[in-house]
Subunit: 219 residues, 2 copies
DNA sequence: TGATAATTTGACCGGTTGGTAAAACATTAC
DNA sequence: GTAATGTTTTACCAACCGGTCAAATTATCA
């Protein structure tokens, strides 16, 4: 029998681990730039340097690849928000949250686009994830922000929309990259635009939220 | 001969106009929620209440429908930015720009998602539009903002990233609607979230940009 | 080395999809 | 009414696509 077909009980051979990684990387490329429906197994297989049946030996279906990718991505996507610390200084926390999210857009644009794609389509694969773990986490952090407001460390504002606006502005640089590049033109072609964005966004939020820093302004 | 096939010379029959409109509306539904590749002609045809060959009598290809939709959408999408007035009061202009964009997210979410989809895919159909007309318009408005800054009406900041951040935050409510709803839960289920968003965003930007209003604070 | 299990390949299949051909049907113009 | 033009339908096709199968090949290990 040749049943195992990747991860039946646990990770088996070194070759399995290696190939699966190559497939996932190729799939991330293809899915993030073509969407689930727009991606073909042949494309992924070719990009991973193997034949379609060979790829299907490691992942039984296209869906299986996609789901694996989504799972991994969701975890890292939430990492920065998890790091948001109630004990920390509001200004420092918000600044570093913005910076972290911006770094993710710079370093993992494919993951960001994969996520954007899924959400655009109505999140058919992760609706439970959104209404469950994500909502809980956001609720928790919103409470932190609300406490800061009550303590007078922050101007009054809706913490949910605050979080949304940080997500939106930072992910924009990954998801709408083509547009950003087209508009900026040759000016600041390289990674410089991420530094500019960080500067602008930190200023916008720190000032806009009327944050009273414990240790005064950094700048 | 039955050659005309929709708009050979000019708009001909009333029936043509009517059917084309129905097709475009159905196509907007289908394209915006499934992407170009994910949409099928059959789906569009069914949603428009006609047979596939009948639909193809009005638009020769799937591409043709998509292009028509994109063209229309781009025009209205840029409308709010065009309305941005150099002569106006900075605070009023930025407030109304935010409000207008937010209204577009509320009233035309399908168009917003169609656009987001196209950009996510690398804007294959509208790259010229982005690097040409869009860039020119943004350059022009960035100059306006820069002038306001020079005149001391606005704190120093990068006008391009300012525009990006308004785009991002406002379109977020259309493009990431599922996520927004999931996180907000039953709380503020209806259209109320747009009012909350408007309140938050206007506050964030007016304060964050350190705008010195001619007529003092509105609130 | 040989047996056993893991991996890879080529050939194939059924369903879907974008699009066509041609004839039937409806509408309008005279 | 009838001829010309505009519209709709039925039947169809070729390419693509997700996935299977069985045989061939390679790696592992006693």
């Amino acid at each position: 029998m040749t049943v195992p077909r990747a991860a039946k009980t646990q990770r088996r051979t070194r070759i399995q681990e290696e190939k699966e990684e190559r497939i996932l990387d190729a799939a991330l490329d293809v899915f993030s730039s073509n969407g689930f429906r727009g991606a073909t197994i042949d494309q992924i297989a070719e990009s991973a340097g193997m034949s379609k049946p060979n790829l299907l030996y490691y992942f039984r279906t296209k869906e299986a690849i996609y789901r694996t990718l989504l799972e991994r991505m969701l975890f890292t996507w939430l990492e920065p928000l998890r790091a948001f610390d109630a004990e920390g200084d509001p200004e420092a926390e918000i600044r570093s949250y913005i910076r972290r999210k911006l770094e993710m857009s710079r370093d993992f644009p494919r993951e960001s686009r994969l996520f954007a794609n899924e959400i655009l389509r109505g999140a058919p694969h992760i609706e439970d994830e959104l209404a469950g773990p994500l909502k809980d986490l956001v609720d928790e952090k919103a409470e932190v922000i609300r406490a800061w407001i009550k303590a007078g460390k922050l101007g009054r504002c809706d913490p949910y929309h605050l979080i949304f606006s940080i997500w939106a502005t930072t992910q924009h640089y990954a998801d709408f990259d083509v547009q950003v590049r087209a508009v900026l033109g040759e000016r600041r072609a390289g990674e410089g635009r991420f530094d500019d964005a960080a500067r602008f966004l930190e200023l916008l939020f720190v000032r806009g939220l009327d944050i009273k820093s414990a240790k005064g302004s950094f700048g």
